[in-house]
Symmetry: C2
Subunit: 344 residues, 2 copies
Amino acid sequence: MRSMKLFRKWTVSLALALCVGLIAFHPANARDRDLASWNDGPARHAIIEFVRSTTDKSSPNYIAPDERIATFDNDGTLWSEQPMYVQGLFALDRVKMLSSQHPEWKTQEPFASILKGDLKAALAGGDKALLEIMMATHAGMTTDEFQKIVTDWISTAKNPVTKRPVLEMVYQPMVELLAYLREHGYKTFIVSGGGIEFMRPWAEKVYGVPPEQVVGSSIKTKYELQDGKSVLVRLPELNFIDDKGGKPVGINQHIGRRPVAAFGNSDGDQQMLEYTTAGIGGARLAMLVLHDDKVREFAYGPANGLPDSHVGTFSQALYDEAKQRGWIVISMQKDWKRIFPPGH
Amino acid sequence: MRSMKLFRKWTVSLALALCVGLIAFHPANARDRDLASWNDGPARHAIIEFVRSTTDKSSPNYIAPDERIATFDNDGTLWSEQPMYVQGLFALDRVKMLSSQHPEWKTQEPFASILKGDLKAALAGGDKALLEIMMATHAGMTTDEFQKIVTDWISTAKNPVTKRPVLEMVYQPMVELLAYLREHGYKTFIVSGGGIEFMRPWAEKVYGVPPEQVVGSSIKTKYELQDGKSVLVRLPELNFIDDKGGKPVGINQHIGRRPVAAFGNSDGDQQMLEYTTAGIGGARLAMLVLHDDKVREFAYGPANGLPDSHVGTFSQALYDEAKQRGWIVISMQKDWKRIFPPGH
């Protein structure tokens, strides 16, 4: 009898070990571990449950692979946007680089102030000054030349506060989320107020998002044959602003389908999240990153009860709409185990 | 000795049979059979050789999967465009359908002439008249509503000359070519002067091209919350003309990569084919469909020595450029075994 009991005990243990083993190596769980930089909390749960229920054919929330469109804002959602948008740093560096070709900038605003290092004075001219800076630094070359300029610049660019490479200030939990969604048949798009041609040169390497899945703001281009070579010249003229109400417009123009999941962090993303969820049946996932981690990144914005930093504003009104519509607010402090990629 | 010889003969035969078998069932050959509606000739050969050399890792012409972008014009390249663009038929039908809501159209040009069935008089007003017709019939509803309008219309629309459903007048060889390229890792895009929202509702079903891979002309849209539902309203204002020099612009805007293969049929495709080939190293494939089959489809255009039909003009200048740049002109008469899908 004793040996029989012992045998049973062993059998049960073995069965348990096998079960544990099977659970541990079940693909779904293997994938869940991909969200390794997310703390076990409501945000992570919501992602896993959304993906599970929309990819399970027996679920009433099932979404066909073709319709699995997920859109991500970039600045403040996929990488740091403080103390200013990375593209702003690029524009300022370009002004300095180009100044020898533009002696008139020494006395001409907003360039004179930039060259003196007085950003506040440079931006005192408002949108007009900003547009002048953008056009002087982003237009006048071919698209191929611009791609090379951006690729070269971004490989060495550093955040002025942390002194860390800007490409190392992408959010590891969001990089994992992009990959997790793709593993489950989702097509991931960037939909950013930033320049479409500023993001494309590095978005595939950094986020796994190819050029044709990047939507952004743009200037006009013009087709030309130059010495028998076919080129597009970047013109100093706005084409499209992919922000606020422009995000659903850009999504429709580029993707032609309504997303079923959308991720943002500011008032500029409000309409994209509405377009994804408002008045729509079926399972939808909408999330907003709240910058509330002063120690590991930055803390800013009215939704945190902090002053408006004018970059990536997350207003109290957006916070209230999120609560009312069931959008999930991601607390960087509570929901993220780590913020930046390991090894940095 | 005799038996040895016999044995050898058998062995050789067996080896040959195995080789032949292997060749016959090699995937590349299985795929070649997919171009079944192409006659064995220079056009079909060029396609197969291009695909072979760009997908063979040991070939100097190898192209990485990410860069395998192929763009196709639609009207006259993927389906019939005579006696007028299908979208033109749609606009005329819409004028008739909407006329009860617009009693003023009875006396107001260009609508009055359309309602009287006098298309020539209606179009006498030139581009201004055309734009008025387009805006009156394509704007003023949400994008979701327009999608339904197009889907409903196209399911019953017929070509006025052949009386056949317009969706059955797609070119079977080109449908096979789209599939053949995709089977070899190419991403296929439509790049058409036609309306992007006019093509998307049916392009996936008919061509296997999803909405996010359709590039076309567009009008502006505006984001709105209507009774809590998030919509885009189509405005009577031109946004973008995806024709001639606009095609490379549209390709860069939507795809962000230069195509390595491009297919067209008219002067409107000239710049797209240049953008794909001119001044570029590496293997590139550029082809133009020549409408020279009066019996099975239509024959028109200066490149055929025929009068300009003003729809899908293939000028002598384009023909000369094609010869000079090594673009392949597809003769519908000689290169295509069948023109329309079987069973119709």
